[in-house]
């Protein structure tokens, strides 16, 4: 059966149907929920100005990620994204780890997104007189429905994501306009609400951990590389367009929220943008922000299912994980077994009751992936200089973005240590044990020569 699946996946490939707008929708769709909730925990860590500094510093980190990713992915156009890059540039163990980072980061983010949808539905029910409605069935329903959408085809999945992500982004713009930004002091009261750094600069560093929420997941655009019509054009356009959209959305989100809410409240708010609309007191804005929050969470979960399934599928196809997962649906051309397998896992993550821990696992897995990217970029340029293989996009100022990324990642590890030191160590223990397991057990099933599939010349130095 597994051999059959493997040979079947070699015969049937995924459909090349996506364009730059789908790539934008995948990247921004995963991330935008972070503007509606989550980013504001950085305010609790370092105050309002601390969160703004975190927004920009982490924005720089992700700009480096987008530049590096655009160059490498426009050259390594295959499902699995960074996982496939690691396989071709660094080696199997690194690739196995990167695959796990992707699956864990996206599946855990998906669980958190589904929890948000469940909580919002329960809140609506409570407001309309149906108290004590359990959010759990909505969590299961959300994940199952989105998994079904993913199962049926990538074009429809990401077209839906484009529509709901665009609505969510426009909701932030509507809130900004509704906050009357041209009349400071009227609705927005920055001069009265902004305070000095409550914990000094150490708080600013601590805020970097949750500053990741502004952009976490934008690198997911690479997962669709095998399904775009033109990877060299669509991936750079979609990714860089996505990071620019997020920089605008993040700055607006900070500006609106800090002008309406005391920083202590903002630092622990569950739905800060919806709260902002409530303070403004415009019922239409409230409805728009409620729908926007819901759409942002659904778009994020949808994109996460898409990306986690493709990373898991790619690992199965290469035998890093059981080959059974490496099958493509003969009709819908999607990695259907991986999509189905990850449904109960995401649901179980959502029901652990360890949301903090699940989110930290997701953030740290992303961070480990960014650390890999900086090493990967330096090696990529050394092993295949610019005149050796054609790139769809060449990012400027190399190696400055790679070294900047490495430095900023180190700072965020320190920030994570300040808030979640025990979690950091336990997550590292997971990746260390998994690595040993791969070397001692899984690697025996891996076909060595099949790990290099790109039509490139022999790498320099090997």
């Amino acid at each position: 059966m597994s051999q059959e699946a493997s040979s079947q996946s070699q015969r049937i490939s995924m459909l090349k149907v996506l364009n730059p707008f789908h790539i934008w929708a995948l990247g921004v769709g995963i991330v935008l929920v972070g503007e509606f909730m989550g980013w504001n925990f950085s305010v609790a860590k370092g105050g309002a100005y601390g969160a703004l500094i975190a927004c920009w510093v982490i924005g720089l980190l992700y700009s480096c990620v987008a530049m590096i990713d655009s160059e490498v992915t426009s050259t390594v156009a295959a499902a699995g994204g960074q996982y496939t890059q690691a396989k071709h540039i660094i080696g199997p163990l690194m690739a196995f780890n990167v695959g796990l980072y992707l699956v864990m980061a996206y599946t855990m983010l998906e669980a958190a997104d589904a929890l948000i949808v469940g909580d919002l539905m329960a809140a609506v029910a409570s407001a309309t007189g149906f108290h004590d409605l359990s959010p759990q069935p909505f969590v299961v329903l959300t994940i199952s429905f989105l998994a079904w959408l993913n199962y049926r085809g990538v074009f429809m999945t990401l077209t839906v994501n484009f529509v709901i992500t665009l609505f969510a982004f426009l909701a932030i713009l509507a809130l900004f306009i509704g906050a009357d930004p041209l009349n400071p002091g009227h609705i927005l009261k920055h001069s009265d609400l902004l305070t000095e750094l409550p914990y000094g600069w150490i708080g600013v560093v601590a805020a970097l951990q949750f500053g990741m929420w502004y952009y976490l997941g934008i690198e997911g655009t690479c997962q669709a590389a095998e399904e775009v019509r033109s990877a060299g054009r669509a991936i750079p356009l979609g990714t860089i367009g996505g990071i620019l959209t997020l920089l605008v959305a993040a700055t607006l989100t900070w500006y609106i929220s800090t002008g309406l809410m005391p920083w202590q409240y903002l630092g622990q708010a569950t739905t800060p943008l919806y709260d902002a609309a409530s303070i403004i007191g415009n019922p239409v804005l409230q409805v728009v922000l409620f729908i926007g929050t819901m759409f942002a969470a659904i778009a994020s979960a949808n994109g996460c299912i898409n990306d986690a399934a493709r990373a898991w599928f790619s690992m199965g196809r290469d035998r890093y994980m059981p080959t059974w997962f490496g099958a493509i649906h003969p009709r819908y051309r999607t990695p259907f077994r991986s999509i189905i397998f990850l449904i109960p896992i995401a649901v179980s993550f959502a029901f652990t009751g360890l949301l903090d821990q699940v989110i930290t696992f997701s953030i740290l897995s992303g961070l480990l992936g960014y650390t890999f990217m900086s090493i990967n970029m330096v090696k990529f340029r050394k092993m295949w200089p610019l005149d050796v293989i054609k790139r769809g996009y060449i990012h400027p100022f190399h190696p400055i973005p790679a070294y900047t990324l490495l430095g900023l990642c180190s700072l965020v590890y320190f920030a994570t240590f300040l808030g979640y030191g025990a979690s950091l160590l336990s997550i590292m223990a997971f990746y260390i044990v998994a690595s040993i397991w791969f070397v001692k057990r899984r690697y025996q099933f891996v076909k060595r020569g099949d790990q290099f599939t790109m039509p490139w010349p022999r790498p320099k130095g090997y």
């Binding site: 309406l260 020569g449 090997y462």
Partner: protein, 136 residues
């Protein structure tokens, strides 16, 4: 270099491996509950004090916004007085740094040797190929 023929894994083996990685994830999710060193602590206890907006050092505009959000001074005090403690334990910081750096060094070294096998199988053994070219 001879081509490596990998073992074919049984269905039971595939199931075991999938479950193993899942169990590992759950264990690592629950470990921090036992090791918890939560940095958050309520530094100011307010239960014995009479709470007012003035005692919370809240300006009139802040007070107005708190009230718009549906908070009175007692509810707001719980949030305002909940503070983080950023005291750094240098030993734990050192251990954490060593673990992260050690992990990457281990991974890069093992990956390097595995990658050489991949390249040798894909492109042929570099040394033997150059020797053959020299003999010609």
């Amino acid at each position: 270099m001879s081509t490596y023929i990998p073992k074919v894994q049984s269905k039971k083996g595939q199931l075991f491996d999938s479950l193993f990685i899942l169990v590992l994830v759950y264990v690592s999710l629950y470990i921090p509950l036992f090791l918890e060193s939560d940095s958050k602590s309520a530094s100011d206890t307010t239960s014995s004090q009479v709470i007012s907006w003035e005692s919370l050092n809240v300006s009139p505009v802040e007070q107005e916004q708190w009230q718009k959000l549906g908070f009175d001074e007692t509810a707001a005090a719980e949030i305002i007085n909940d503070k983080f403690d950023y005291t750094i334990d240098p030993v734990m910081l050192g251990i954490t740094a060593l673990v992260i750096i050690g992990y990457f060094i281990f991974m890069l070294r093992v990956s390097e040797s595995q990658y050489r096998e991949v390249i040798a199988e894909k492109f042929g053994d570099k040394t033997s190929r150059s020797e053959q070219e020299e003999q010609r």
